[in-house]
Amino acid sequence: MAVLVLADHDNASLRESTAKAVTAAVLLGGDVHILVAGLNCAPAADAAAKIDGVAKVLHAESPRYEHMLPEPLAVLISSLGPSYDALLAPSTTTGKNVMPRVAALLDVMQISDMMNVLAPDTFERPIYAGNVIETVRSRDAKKVITVRVTAFQAAGQGGQASVELLDAVDTPEISTFVSEELSRSERPELTSARIVLSGGRALQSRENFTKYIDPVAERLHAAVGASRAAVDAGYAPNDWQVGQTGKIVAPEIYIAVGISGAIQHLAGMKDSKVIVAINKDPDAPIFQVADYGLVADLYTALPELETELARIGI
Protein backbone atom coordinates (compact mmCIF):
# COMPACT_ATOMS: atom_id res chain seq x y z
CA MET A 1 0.00 0.00 0.00
CA ALA A 2 1.23 3.47 -0.87
CA VAL A 3 -0.41 6.79 -0.09
CA LEU A 4 0.06 10.10 -1.90
CA VAL A 5 -0.44 13.39 -0.08
CA LEU A 6 -0.96 16.60 -2.06
CA ALA A 7 1.13 19.32 -0.43
CA ASP A 8 -0.45 22.67 0.37
CA HIS A 9 2.20 25.33 -0.16
CA ASP A 10 2.92 28.76 -1.60
CA ASN A 11 6.01 27.57 -3.55
CA ALA A 12 8.39 29.21 -1.06
CA SER A 13 7.15 27.31 1.96
CA LEU A 14 5.01 24.40 3.02
CA ARG A 15 1.82 25.00 5.00
CA GLU A 16 1.43 23.15 8.28
CA SER A 17 -1.74 21.50 6.99
CA THR A 18 0.49 19.26 4.86
CA ALA A 19 2.18 17.72 7.92
CA LYS A 20 -1.26 17.13 9.44
CA ALA A 21 -2.43 15.29 6.34
CA VAL A 22 0.76 13.19 6.55
CA THR A 23 -0.29 12.04 10.04
CA ALA A 24 -3.59 10.84 8.57
CA ALA A 25 -1.77 9.19 5.68
CA VAL A 26 0.51 7.27 8.05
CA LEU A 27 -2.57 5.88 9.80
CA LEU A 28 -3.68 4.33 6.51
CA GLY A 29 -0.46 2.32 6.45
CA GLY A 30 2.18 1.88 3.77
CA ASP A 31 4.66 4.25 2.17
CA VAL A 32 3.73 7.92 2.28
CA HIS A 33 4.73 10.10 -0.65
CA ILE A 34 4.13 13.85 -0.98
CA LEU A 35 3.42 15.62 -4.26
CA VAL A 36 4.71 19.20 -4.38
CA ALA A 37 3.52 20.77 -7.62
CA GLY A 38 4.27 24.43 -8.29
CA LEU A 39 6.71 26.87 -9.82
CA ASN A 40 10.12 27.36 -8.21
CA CYS A 41 8.76 25.27 -5.37
CA ALA A 42 12.00 23.49 -4.46
CA PRO A 43 11.95 25.09 -0.96
CA ALA A 44 8.52 23.58 -0.35
CA ALA A 45 9.67 20.22 -1.72
CA ASP A 46 12.72 20.27 0.57
CA ALA A 47 10.51 21.09 3.55
CA ALA A 48 8.22 18.18 2.61
CA ALA A 49 11.21 15.81 2.55
CA LYS A 50 11.93 16.65 6.20
CA ILE A 51 8.49 15.60 7.49
CA ASP A 52 8.63 12.46 9.61
CA GLY A 53 7.13 9.38 7.98
CA VAL A 54 7.54 10.56 4.39
CA ALA A 55 9.34 8.09 2.11
CA LYS A 56 9.49 10.14 -1.07
CA VAL A 57 8.70 13.59 -2.41
CA LEU A 58 7.50 14.05 -5.98
CA HIS A 59 8.43 17.51 -7.19
CA ALA A 60 6.66 18.82 -10.32
CA GLU A 61 7.60 22.18 -11.82
CA SER A 62 5.45 24.08 -14.29
CA PRO A 63 4.07 27.61 -14.68
CA ARG A 64 0.69 25.85 -14.86
CA TYR A 65 1.08 24.61 -11.28
CA GLU A 66 2.21 27.93 -9.78
CA HIS A 67 -1.20 28.80 -8.33
CA MET A 68 -2.41 25.22 -7.96
CA LEU A 69 -5.25 25.65 -10.44
CA PRO A 70 -7.37 22.50 -10.29
CA GLU A 71 -7.67 21.86 -14.04
CA PRO A 72 -3.99 21.01 -14.73
CA LEU A 73 -3.32 19.77 -11.20
CA ALA A 74 -6.14 17.20 -11.16
CA VAL A 75 -4.83 15.72 -14.41
CA LEU A 76 -1.33 15.43 -12.94
CA ILE A 77 -2.57 13.80 -9.72
CA SER A 78 -4.92 11.38 -11.45
CA SER A 79 -2.08 10.35 -13.77
CA LEU A 80 -0.25 9.18 -10.62
CA GLY A 81 -3.36 7.33 -9.43
CA PRO A 82 -2.36 3.84 -10.64
CA SER A 83 0.66 3.82 -8.26
CA TYR A 84 -1.35 4.59 -5.14
CA ASP A 85 -4.03 3.03 -2.99
CA ALA A 86 -5.05 6.34 -1.49
CA LEU A 87 -4.74 10.00 -2.46
CA LEU A 88 -5.06 12.58 0.31
CA ALA A 89 -5.04 16.34 0.64
CA PRO A 90 -5.59 18.61 3.60
CA SER A 91 -9.12 19.98 3.58
CA THR A 92 -7.98 23.53 2.80
CA THR A 93 -9.54 25.58 0.00
CA THR A 94 -6.91 24.11 -2.35
CA GLY A 95 -7.56 20.50 -1.33
CA LYS A 96 -11.32 21.01 -1.47
CA ASN A 97 -11.00 22.53 -4.93
CA VAL A 98 -8.71 19.93 -6.48
CA MET A 99 -9.48 16.54 -4.92
CA PRO A 100 -13.11 16.03 -6.02
CA ARG A 101 -11.90 16.72 -9.55
CA VAL A 102 -9.26 14.01 -9.08
CA ALA A 103 -11.85 11.64 -7.62
CA ALA A 104 -14.18 12.05 -10.60
CA LEU A 105 -11.31 11.48 -13.06
CA LEU A 106 -10.52 8.25 -11.19
CA ASP A 107 -14.21 7.33 -10.81
CA VAL A 108 -13.95 7.31 -7.02
CA MET A 109 -16.38 8.71 -4.45
CA GLN A 110 -14.35 11.05 -2.25
CA ILE A 111 -14.38 11.00 1.54
CA SER A 112 -14.58 14.69 2.48
CA ASP A 113 -13.24 16.17 5.69
CA MET A 114 -12.12 12.84 7.10
CA MET A 115 -11.57 13.18 10.84
CA ASN A 116 -10.69 9.66 11.97
CA VAL A 117 -9.21 6.53 10.41
CA LEU A 118 -10.87 3.40 11.84
CA ALA A 119 -9.43 1.05 9.20
CA PRO A 120 -7.76 1.65 5.83
CA ASP A 121 -11.23 1.64 4.25
CA THR A 122 -13.32 2.94 7.16
CA PHE A 123 -13.48 6.54 8.26
CA GLU A 124 -15.38 9.07 10.32
CA ARG A 125 -16.48 12.39 8.92
CA PRO A 126 -18.75 15.19 10.09
CA ILE A 127 -22.09 15.87 8.41
CA TYR A 128 -24.91 18.33 9.15
CA ALA A 129 -22.42 21.02 10.18
CA GLY A 130 -20.70 18.67 12.60
CA ASN A 131 -23.93 17.83 14.45
CA VAL A 132 -23.65 14.23 13.27
CA ILE A 133 -20.59 12.05 12.73
CA GLU A 134 -20.96 9.35 10.11
CA THR A 135 -18.83 6.24 9.84
CA VAL A 136 -18.37 5.16 6.24
CA ARG A 137 -16.68 2.22 4.59
CA SER A 138 -15.44 2.87 1.08
CA ARG A 139 -16.13 0.22 -1.54
CA ASP A 140 -13.80 1.93 -4.01
CA ALA A 141 -10.52 0.13 -4.57
CA LYS A 142 -8.75 3.49 -4.44
CA LYS A 143 -9.52 6.11 -1.81
CA VAL A 144 -9.61 9.84 -2.40
CA ILE A 145 -9.73 11.74 0.87
CA THR A 146 -9.64 15.32 2.14
CA VAL A 147 -8.37 15.50 5.70
CA ARG A 148 -9.92 17.72 8.38
CA VAL A 149 -6.69 19.27 9.61
CA THR A 150 -7.94 20.19 13.06
CA ALA A 151 -8.46 16.49 13.78
CA PHE A 152 -4.80 15.48 13.33
CA GLN A 153 -1.54 16.59 14.95
CA ALA A 154 1.17 17.69 12.55
CA ALA A 155 3.77 15.00 11.84
CA GLY A 156 7.17 15.83 13.30
CA GLN A 157 10.37 16.91 11.61
CA GLY A 158 13.47 14.84 11.04
CA GLY A 159 12.60 12.87 7.91
CA GLN A 160 15.07 12.44 5.09
CA ALA A 161 12.94 11.55 2.10
CA SER A 162 14.34 11.51 -1.40
CA VAL A 163 13.08 14.14 -3.83
CA GLU A 164 12.21 12.94 -7.30
CA LEU A 165 11.53 15.32 -10.19
CA LEU A 166 8.30 14.70 -12.02
CA ASP A 167 7.36 15.89 -15.50
CA ALA A 168 4.36 18.15 -15.91
CA VAL A 169 1.42 16.67 -17.81
CA ASP A 170 0.25 18.66 -20.80
CA THR A 171 -3.37 19.86 -20.55
CA PRO A 172 -5.46 22.36 -22.51
CA GLU A 173 -5.29 25.84 -20.99
CA ILE A 174 -8.92 26.41 -20.04
CA SER A 175 -8.21 28.41 -16.88
CA THR A 176 -5.73 31.15 -16.02
CA PHE A 177 -4.74 32.85 -12.82
CA VAL A 178 -5.52 36.58 -12.73
CA SER A 179 -4.70 37.86 -9.26
CA GLU A 180 -4.60 37.12 -5.58
CA GLU A 181 -5.22 39.31 -2.57
CA LEU A 182 -4.02 37.65 0.58
CA SER A 183 -4.35 39.43 3.86
CA ARG A 184 -0.91 40.06 5.31
CA SER A 185 -0.71 39.67 9.02
CA GLU A 186 1.96 39.44 11.66
CA ARG A 187 -0.38 37.22 13.59
CA PRO A 188 -0.46 33.44 13.47
CA GLU A 189 -2.71 31.83 10.89
CA LEU A 190 -6.27 31.24 12.09
CA THR A 191 -6.39 27.49 11.56
CA SER A 192 -3.05 26.75 13.19
CA ALA A 193 -2.94 29.34 16.00
CA ARG A 194 -2.62 28.17 19.61
CA ILE A 195 -5.00 30.91 20.72
CA VAL A 196 -7.89 32.38 18.72
CA LEU A 197 -9.71 35.54 19.77
CA SER A 198 -12.97 36.05 17.87
CA GLY A 199 -15.35 38.95 17.81
CA GLY A 200 -19.03 39.05 16.98
CA ARG A 201 -21.59 41.57 15.88
CA ALA A 202 -21.44 43.24 19.31
CA LEU A 203 -18.14 44.80 18.21
CA GLN A 204 -20.28 47.13 16.06
CA SER A 205 -17.54 48.29 13.66
CA ARG A 206 -14.25 47.50 11.95
CA GLU A 207 -12.63 50.19 14.09
CA ASN A 208 -13.73 48.47 17.28
CA PHE A 209 -12.06 45.25 16.16
CA THR A 210 -8.83 47.23 15.85
CA LYS A 211 -9.37 49.14 19.06
CA TYR A 212 -10.60 46.38 21.36
CA ILE A 213 -9.66 42.99 19.88
CA ASP A 214 -6.21 43.74 18.44
CA PRO A 215 -4.41 44.79 21.66
CA VAL A 216 -5.51 41.62 23.47
CA ALA A 217 -4.70 39.43 20.45
CA GLU A 218 -1.27 41.08 20.30
CA ARG A 219 -0.54 40.21 23.90
CA LEU A 220 -1.73 36.61 23.55
CA HIS A 221 -0.11 36.09 20.11
CA ALA A 222 -3.57 35.05 19.09
CA ALA A 223 -5.10 34.83 15.64
CA VAL A 224 -8.20 36.97 15.19
CA GLY A 225 -11.47 35.41 14.08
CA ALA A 226 -15.02 36.62 13.65
CA SER A 227 -18.57 35.35 13.60
CA ARG A 228 -20.52 35.24 10.39
CA ALA A 229 -22.69 38.09 11.66
CA ALA A 230 -19.62 40.30 12.13
CA VAL A 231 -18.30 39.40 8.67
CA ASP A 232 -21.68 39.95 7.00
CA ALA A 233 -21.90 43.34 8.69
CA GLY A 234 -18.50 44.25 7.24
CA TYR A 235 -16.69 44.50 10.59
CA ALA A 236 -14.19 41.79 9.65
CA PRO A 237 -12.86 40.35 6.37
CA ASN A 238 -14.34 37.14 4.96
CA ASP A 239 -11.33 34.99 5.67
CA TRP A 240 -11.65 35.64 9.42
CA GLN A 241 -14.96 33.84 9.60
CA VAL A 242 -15.05 30.90 11.97
CA GLY A 243 -17.94 28.51 11.47
CA GLN A 244 -19.53 25.86 9.34
CA THR A 245 -19.19 27.94 6.20
CA GLY A 246 -15.91 29.57 7.21
CA LYS A 247 -12.83 28.23 8.95
CA ILE A 248 -12.85 25.23 11.25
CA VAL A 249 -10.50 25.87 14.17
CA ALA A 250 -9.47 23.86 17.22
CA PRO A 251 -6.96 25.95 19.18
CA GLU A 252 -5.90 25.43 22.80
CA ILE A 253 -7.86 28.52 23.80
CA TYR A 254 -10.80 29.95 21.89
CA ILE A 255 -12.06 33.26 23.21
CA ALA A 256 -15.45 34.33 21.86
CA VAL A 257 -16.23 37.97 22.50
CA GLY A 258 -19.68 39.37 21.80
CA ILE A 259 -20.64 36.18 19.96
CA SER A 260 -24.02 34.70 20.79
CA GLY A 261 -23.10 31.18 19.65
CA ALA A 262 -25.23 30.30 16.63
CA ILE A 263 -25.08 26.61 15.66
CA GLN A 264 -23.14 27.45 12.53
CA HIS A 265 -20.47 29.27 14.59
CA LEU A 266 -20.21 26.46 17.15
CA ALA A 267 -19.63 24.03 14.28
CA GLY A 268 -16.39 25.86 13.55
CA MET A 269 -14.88 26.00 17.03
CA LYS A 270 -16.39 23.46 19.39
CA ASP A 271 -13.37 21.15 19.20
CA SER A 272 -11.22 23.82 20.85
CA LYS A 273 -9.53 22.62 24.04
CA VAL A 274 -10.69 25.47 26.24
CA ILE A 275 -13.50 27.82 25.30
CA VAL A 276 -13.90 31.21 26.92
CA ALA A 277 -16.99 33.35 26.31
CA ILE A 278 -17.40 37.00 27.12
CA ASN A 279 -20.92 38.24 26.49
CA LYS A 280 -23.21 40.65 28.26
CA ASP A 281 -26.24 38.43 27.67
CA PRO A 282 -26.19 35.75 30.40
CA ASP A 283 -28.52 33.57 28.28
CA ALA A 284 -26.35 33.59 25.15
CA PRO A 285 -26.04 29.98 23.84
CA ILE A 286 -22.25 30.34 23.69
CA PHE A 287 -22.19 29.88 27.49
CA GLN A 288 -23.55 26.34 27.04
CA VAL A 289 -20.29 25.25 25.43
CA ALA A 290 -17.87 27.57 27.23
CA ASP A 291 -15.55 26.24 29.90
CA TYR A 292 -15.27 29.74 31.34
CA GLY A 293 -17.98 32.30 30.88
CA LEU A 294 -17.81 35.96 31.85
CA VAL A 295 -21.03 37.95 31.72
CA ALA A 296 -19.70 41.41 30.98
CA ASP A 297 -19.75 44.26 28.52
CA LEU A 298 -16.89 43.65 26.10
CA TYR A 299 -16.06 47.35 25.97
CA THR A 300 -14.98 47.23 29.60
CA ALA A 301 -13.90 43.57 29.77
CA LEU A 302 -11.41 43.64 26.87
CA PRO A 303 -9.40 46.65 28.13
CA GLU A 304 -9.44 45.05 31.59
CA LEU A 305 -8.21 41.80 30.09
CA GLU A 306 -5.36 43.54 28.35
CA THR A 307 -4.36 45.31 31.56
CA GLU A 308 -4.56 42.09 33.53
CA LEU A 309 -2.43 40.20 31.01
CA ALA A 310 0.12 43.01 31.08
CA ARG A 311 0.12 42.97 34.90
CA ILE A 312 1.04 39.30 35.03
CA GLY A 313 3.66 39.72 32.34
CA ILE A 314 1.96 38.17 29.31
Binding site: L69, P70, A74, T92, T93, K96, N97, M99, P100, R101, A103, A104, L105, V108, M109, Q110, I111, S112, T122, P126, I127, Y128, N131, V132, I133, E134, T135, V136, R137, S138, R139, I174, S175, T176, F177, V178, E180, E181, L182, E189, T191, N238, D239, Q244, K247, I253, Q264, K270, V274, I275, F287, D291, Y292, G293, L294, A301, E304, L305, E308, L309
Partner: protein, 249 residues
Protein backbone atom coordinates in the same frame (compact mmCIF):
# COMPACT_ATOMS: atom_id res chain seq x y z
CA UNK B 1 -26.55 32.22 -22.97
CA UNK B 2 -28.03 29.34 -21.03
CA UNK B 3 -27.23 28.69 -17.36
CA UNK B 4 -28.04 25.36 -15.73
CA UNK B 5 -28.52 25.50 -11.95
CA UNK B 6 -28.61 22.15 -10.13
CA UNK B 7 -30.38 22.50 -6.77
CA UNK B 8 -30.92 20.15 -3.85
CA UNK B 9 -33.75 19.80 -1.37
CA UNK B 10 -32.25 19.56 2.12
CA UNK B 11 -33.24 19.89 5.76
CA UNK B 12 -33.85 23.58 6.46
CA UNK B 13 -30.76 25.21 7.95
CA UNK B 14 -32.72 26.25 11.03
CA UNK B 15 -33.90 22.71 11.81
CA UNK B 16 -32.10 20.67 14.45
CA UNK B 17 -31.33 17.18 13.24
CA UNK B 18 -31.16 14.12 15.46
CA UNK B 19 -29.68 10.72 14.82
CA UNK B 20 -32.15 7.82 14.85
CA UNK B 21 -31.97 5.72 18.00
CA UNK B 22 -30.47 2.77 16.12
CA UNK B 23 -27.76 4.95 14.56
CA UNK B 24 -28.71 4.04 10.99
CA UNK B 25 -29.43 7.54 9.87
CA UNK B 26 -30.86 10.94 10.66
CA UNK B 27 -34.48 11.42 11.67
CA UNK B 28 -35.94 13.50 8.85
CA UNK B 29 -39.69 13.01 9.26
CA UNK B 30 -41.52 16.18 10.28
CA UNK B 31 -38.49 18.37 9.61
CA UNK B 32 -38.90 21.37 7.35
CA UNK B 33 -37.16 20.91 3.99
CA UNK B 34 -35.90 23.77 1.85
CA UNK B 35 -33.66 24.60 -1.06
CA UNK B 36 -30.00 24.22 -0.07
CA UNK B 37 -28.92 27.78 0.91
CA UNK B 38 -25.82 27.77 -1.31
CA UNK B 39 -27.95 26.60 -4.26
CA UNK B 40 -30.34 29.47 -3.63
CA UNK B 41 -27.38 31.83 -4.02
CA UNK B 42 -26.48 30.08 -7.29
CA UNK B 43 -30.04 30.55 -8.59
CA UNK B 44 -29.96 34.23 -7.59
CA UNK B 45 -26.69 34.81 -9.44
CA UNK B 46 -28.03 33.16 -12.60
CA UNK B 47 -31.26 35.16 -12.44
CA UNK B 48 -29.29 38.41 -12.03
CA UNK B 49 -27.30 37.56 -15.16
CA UNK B 50 -30.60 37.02 -16.95
CA UNK B 51 -31.91 40.37 -15.71
CA UNK B 52 -28.74 42.07 -16.96
CA UNK B 53 -29.30 40.55 -20.38
CA UNK B 54 -26.22 38.30 -20.16
CA UNK B 55 -28.23 35.08 -19.87
CA UNK B 56 -31.45 34.25 -21.63
CA UNK B 57 -32.30 30.89 -20.12
CA UNK B 58 -31.95 29.76 -16.49
CA UNK B 59 -32.78 26.09 -16.05
CA UNK B 60 -33.14 24.65 -12.54
CA UNK B 61 -32.60 20.91 -12.22
CA UNK B 62 -33.08 18.86 -9.08
CA UNK B 63 -32.45 15.19 -8.46
CA UNK B 64 -34.50 13.61 -5.72
CA UNK B 65 -37.94 12.43 -4.64
CA UNK B 66 -41.18 13.89 -6.06
CA UNK B 67 -41.16 16.56 -3.33
CA UNK B 68 -38.01 18.08 -4.87
CA UNK B 69 -40.47 19.76 -7.21
CA UNK B 70 -40.92 22.30 -4.37
CA UNK B 71 -37.35 23.58 -4.58
CA UNK B 72 -37.57 23.79 -8.36
CA UNK B 73 -40.65 25.97 -7.93
CA UNK B 74 -38.68 28.09 -5.45
CA UNK B 75 -36.11 28.63 -8.23
CA UNK B 76 -38.83 29.38 -10.80
CA UNK B 77 -40.43 31.91 -8.45
CA UNK B 78 -37.03 33.63 -8.12
CA UNK B 79 -36.87 34.01 -11.89
CA UNK B 80 -35.59 30.77 -13.41
CA UNK B 81 -37.15 30.06 -16.79
CA UNK B 82 -37.53 26.27 -16.73
CA UNK B 83 -37.40 23.30 -14.39
CA UNK B 84 -36.26 19.70 -14.70
CA UNK B 85 -36.92 17.08 -12.02
CA UNK B 86 -34.87 13.91 -12.15
CA UNK B 87 -36.71 11.51 -9.91
CA UNK B 88 -34.83 9.27 -7.52
CA UNK B 89 -35.84 7.97 -4.09
CA UNK B 90 -33.01 7.63 -1.64
CA UNK B 91 -29.58 9.14 -1.15
CA UNK B 92 -27.50 9.68 -4.24
CA UNK B 93 -23.78 10.37 -3.75
CA UNK B 94 -22.07 13.38 -5.35
CA UNK B 95 -20.25 11.17 -7.90
CA UNK B 96 -23.55 9.73 -9.16
CA UNK B 97 -25.18 13.17 -9.02
CA UNK B 98 -22.33 14.58 -11.11
CA UNK B 99 -22.76 11.77 -13.66
CA UNK B 100 -26.50 12.39 -13.89
CA UNK B 101 -25.91 16.14 -14.24
CA UNK B 102 -23.38 15.49 -16.98
CA UNK B 103 -26.11 13.65 -18.88
CA UNK B 104 -28.45 16.62 -18.36
CA UNK B 105 -25.71 19.02 -19.51
CA UNK B 106 -24.98 16.93 -22.61
CA UNK B 107 -28.65 17.27 -23.46
CA UNK B 108 -29.18 20.93 -22.49
CA UNK B 109 -25.78 22.27 -23.63
CA UNK B 110 -25.58 25.16 -21.15
CA UNK B 111 -22.79 27.78 -21.32
CA UNK B 112 -22.39 27.80 -17.57
CA UNK B 113 -23.48 25.63 -14.66
CA UNK B 114 -23.90 27.35 -11.29
CA UNK B 115 -24.08 25.20 -8.17
CA UNK B 116 -23.92 25.81 -4.44
CA UNK B 117 -20.45 25.06 -3.07
CA UNK B 118 -21.84 22.35 -0.81
CA UNK B 119 -25.10 20.90 0.43
CA UNK B 120 -25.67 21.52 4.12
CA UNK B 121 -26.78 17.95 4.83
CA UNK B 122 -23.77 15.82 3.86
CA UNK B 123 -21.33 18.77 3.59
CA UNK B 124 -19.38 16.99 0.84
CA UNK B 125 -18.37 19.98 -1.30
CA UNK B 126 -17.75 17.74 -4.34
CA UNK B 127 -20.52 17.86 -6.95
CA UNK B 128 -19.43 20.99 -8.84
CA UNK B 129 -15.80 19.93 -9.05
CA UNK B 130 -16.74 16.39 -10.11
CA UNK B 131 -19.12 17.65 -12.77
CA UNK B 132 -16.38 19.97 -14.09
CA UNK B 133 -14.00 17.00 -14.32
CA UNK B 134 -16.53 14.81 -16.13
CA UNK B 135 -17.33 17.56 -18.62
CA UNK B 136 -13.69 18.65 -18.97
CA UNK B 137 -14.71 22.21 -18.08
CA UNK B 138 -12.84 24.71 -15.90
CA UNK B 139 -14.20 25.43 -12.43
CA UNK B 140 -14.49 28.52 -10.27
CA UNK B 141 -15.32 27.21 -6.81
CA UNK B 142 -16.29 29.20 -3.69
CA UNK B 143 -17.17 32.22 -5.82
CA UNK B 144 -17.75 35.62 -4.27
CA UNK B 145 -17.89 37.48 -7.60
CA UNK B 146 -18.76 36.37 -11.14
CA UNK B 147 -18.32 38.45 -14.28
CA UNK B 148 -18.91 37.23 -17.82
CA UNK B 149 -16.37 38.74 -20.21
CA UNK B 150 -16.95 37.71 -23.82
CA UNK B 151 -16.19 34.01 -24.13
CA UNK B 152 -14.72 33.88 -20.60
CA UNK B 153 -15.99 34.16 -17.08
CA UNK B 154 -13.88 35.88 -14.43
CA UNK B 155 -14.46 34.42 -10.98
CA UNK B 156 -13.23 35.77 -7.65
CA UNK B 157 -12.89 32.91 -5.18
CA UNK B 158 -12.80 32.86 -1.40
CA UNK B 159 -9.61 31.04 -0.45
CA UNK B 160 -7.76 30.52 2.84
CA UNK B 161 -6.19 33.84 3.66
CA UNK B 162 -8.02 36.01 1.13
CA UNK B 163 -9.22 36.01 -2.46
CA UNK B 164 -8.06 34.56 -5.75
CA UNK B 165 -9.33 35.64 -9.16
CA UNK B 166 -9.27 33.26 -12.13
CA UNK B 167 -10.33 33.56 -15.76
CA UNK B 168 -12.16 30.54 -17.17
CA UNK B 169 -13.01 29.72 -20.76
CA UNK B 170 -16.71 29.05 -21.31
CA UNK B 171 -18.37 26.66 -20.88
CA UNK B 172 -17.52 26.67 -17.17
CA UNK B 173 -18.66 25.60 -13.72
CA UNK B 174 -19.11 28.09 -10.88
CA UNK B 175 -19.87 27.12 -7.28
CA UNK B 176 -21.38 29.79 -5.04
CA UNK B 177 -20.02 30.80 -1.66
CA UNK B 178 -21.97 32.65 0.98
CA UNK B 179 -21.11 36.19 -0.02
CA UNK B 180 -21.72 35.97 -3.76
CA UNK B 181 -25.08 37.68 -3.28
CA UNK B 182 -28.11 37.99 -1.05
CA UNK B 183 -30.92 35.91 -2.57
CA UNK B 184 -34.21 37.72 -3.09
CA UNK B 185 -37.55 36.83 -1.57
CA UNK B 186 -39.86 35.76 -4.36
CA UNK B 187 -42.96 37.93 -4.72
CA UNK B 188 -46.38 36.37 -4.25
CA UNK B 189 -47.39 36.85 -7.93
CA UNK B 190 -44.16 35.14 -8.98
CA UNK B 191 -44.76 32.29 -6.54
CA UNK B 192 -48.26 31.84 -7.99
CA UNK B 193 -46.92 32.00 -11.54
CA UNK B 194 -44.22 29.44 -10.70
CA UNK B 195 -46.86 27.00 -9.48
CA UNK B 196 -48.32 26.83 -12.96
CA UNK B 197 -45.07 26.49 -14.89
CA UNK B 198 -44.50 23.02 -16.37
CA UNK B 199 -41.63 20.93 -14.98
CA UNK B 200 -39.97 18.37 -17.19
CA UNK B 201 -39.78 15.06 -15.28
CA UNK B 202 -37.55 12.12 -16.02
CA UNK B 203 -36.45 9.09 -14.00
CA UNK B 204 -32.78 8.82 -13.07
CA UNK B 205 -32.54 5.55 -15.01
CA UNK B 206 -32.96 7.55 -18.22
CA UNK B 207 -29.67 9.31 -17.40
CA UNK B 208 -27.43 6.86 -15.53
CA UNK B 209 -27.64 3.14 -14.86
CA UNK B 210 -25.49 2.90 -11.72
CA UNK B 211 -26.91 4.60 -8.63
CA UNK B 212 -25.35 2.26 -6.05
CA UNK B 213 -23.48 4.05 -3.24
CA UNK B 214 -19.72 3.66 -3.07
CA UNK B 215 -19.63 4.62 0.58
CA UNK B 216 -21.43 2.25 2.91
CA UNK B 217 -22.76 4.13 5.93
CA UNK B 218 -21.94 1.94 8.93
CA UNK B 219 -23.12 4.26 11.65
CA UNK B 220 -24.30 7.73 12.49
CA UNK B 221 -23.80 9.25 15.90
CA UNK B 222 -23.96 12.59 17.60
CA UNK B 223 -20.58 13.94 18.67
CA UNK B 224 -19.83 14.09 22.40
CA UNK B 225 -21.51 17.16 23.83
CA UNK B 226 -19.46 19.79 25.56
CA UNK B 227 -20.65 20.58 29.02
CA UNK B 228 -21.12 24.14 30.09
CA UNK B 229 -18.33 25.12 32.44
CA UNK B 230 -18.32 27.77 35.10
CA UNK B 231 -19.16 31.44 35.15
CA UNK B 232 -16.44 33.67 36.45
CA UNK B 233 -17.13 36.96 38.19
CA UNK B 234 -14.30 39.08 36.85
CA UNK B 235 -11.55 39.36 34.28
CA UNK B 236 -8.97 38.74 37.01
CA UNK B 237 -10.69 35.49 38.00
CA UNK B 238 -10.86 34.44 34.35
CA UNK B 239 -7.14 34.97 33.81
CA UNK B 240 -6.31 33.23 37.06
CA UNK B 241 -8.42 30.18 36.16
CA UNK B 242 -6.89 29.98 32.69
CA UNK B 243 -3.44 29.96 34.29
CA UNK B 244 -3.90 27.70 37.26
CA UNK B 245 -6.92 25.52 36.58
CA UNK B 246 -6.79 25.10 32.77
CA UNK B 247 -3.03 25.64 32.57
CA UNK B 248 -3.27 27.15 29.13
CA UNK B 249 -1.92 30.66 29.73
Amino acid sequence: MKILVPIKRVVDFNAKVHVKADGTGVELSNLKMSINPFDEIAVEEAVRLKERGVATDVVCVSIGPAQSEDVIRTGLAMGATRGILVTFDGELEPLAVAKALKAVADDEKPDMIFLGKQAIDYDCDQTGQMLAALLGWPQGTFASKVEVDGSDVVVTREVDGGHQTVRLKLPAIVTADLRLNQPRYASLPNIMKAKRMPIDKKPIESLISDTAPRLEILKMAEPPHRKAGVKVASVAELVSKLRTEAGVL
